[in-house]
Point group: C2
Chain length 167, copies 2
């Protein structure tokens, strides 16, 4: 704007206290990542959580809606709309549980599994761009550290099989 003015060195960067704070870093990185993922998915006609829902169903063939919502930190009412949209496109199917007719069990269709494959590529690219500053080894380290933190604060991140419910 005005290169001649000394510009009291208005710091255009964040103070060290914030830039080196895991709290602040995680907050900002999480926010930016969410922003990118939302935009990328929206561009191909999906909502942010559609990928999570499909991924979840791929590993757990049949889930009740409430379980899906709880695992993904979604409101049950919110999930209804997401599932409606996925069902219209025939990526999932809803079926009443005969044992308890209040429950709807949700499962992936073949088309859904296929579409999940496409979205995986998209998500992988977002991740690759985002972590471009790190080499493969470092990405692995980061993932391990984050996963350990996650498992500590939220049991839903537990590794399958290692559930080891306290007797």
């Amino acid at each position: 704007m005005n290169p001649s003015k000394p510009q009291i060195q208005a710091p255009t960067c964040l103070p060290a206290e914030l830039a080196s704070s895991p709290v602040f870093l995680l907050g900002r990185l999480g926010y930016e990542l969410k922003r990118r993922a939302t935009a990328a998915l929206e561009a191909v006609g999906y909502a942010l959580y559609d990928f999570s829902v499909l991924s979840l169903l791929a590993e757990s063939p049949c889930q009740a809606q409430g379980e899906i919502a709880d695992l993904l930190n979604l409101d049950r009412g919110q999930l209804v709309g997401l599932l409606d949209s996925l069902e219209e496109r025939q990526l999932i199917e809803r079926q009443r549980d005969p044992k308890d007719r209040r429950r709807q069990t949700v499962k992936l269709t073949r088309a859904g599994r296929q579409e999940l494959g496409r979205l995986r590529g998209l998500v992988a690219r977002i991740e690759d761009d985002f972590l471009a500053a790190l080499d493969l080894n470092e990405r692995g380290e980061l993932e391990q550290l984050l996963a350990r933190v996650a498992r500590h604060i939220d049991p839903r991140f537990a590794e399958r099989g290692s559930v080891a419910v306290a007797s």
Copy 2:
């Protein structure tokens, strides 16, 4: 809530694809951290971003409001309310810049610096709880990795001094 019920133990944990995805992990951890920080600050009468504002001013004595907003990813209109609240409590002072009377320069008061000290303790505790799964070494590694990712996607995370302002 209901410890006696068998709790069908439909997979109560996330699929490996999500639980090991840096994208998903960063999103969820960032969200949870924001939730905790908001609650903790609210409990002592502060808004989430008050800490960031005070911290920023502590390192850069005088900032124009627009600069503060830009650095913190805040809307300028949003920042007004935050500063009003901090000014009422006499933690900051606003002063018109005589060189350009449109600008307000903001600076920390002595009371503000003192209060920042209190809030630092609070934030440190949140961080400590959140990262309890990691030892000090690992926390350092995590911070370094996150900082590098942050610097890559957002120049505002650049280290001070490395700015190398073009003469």
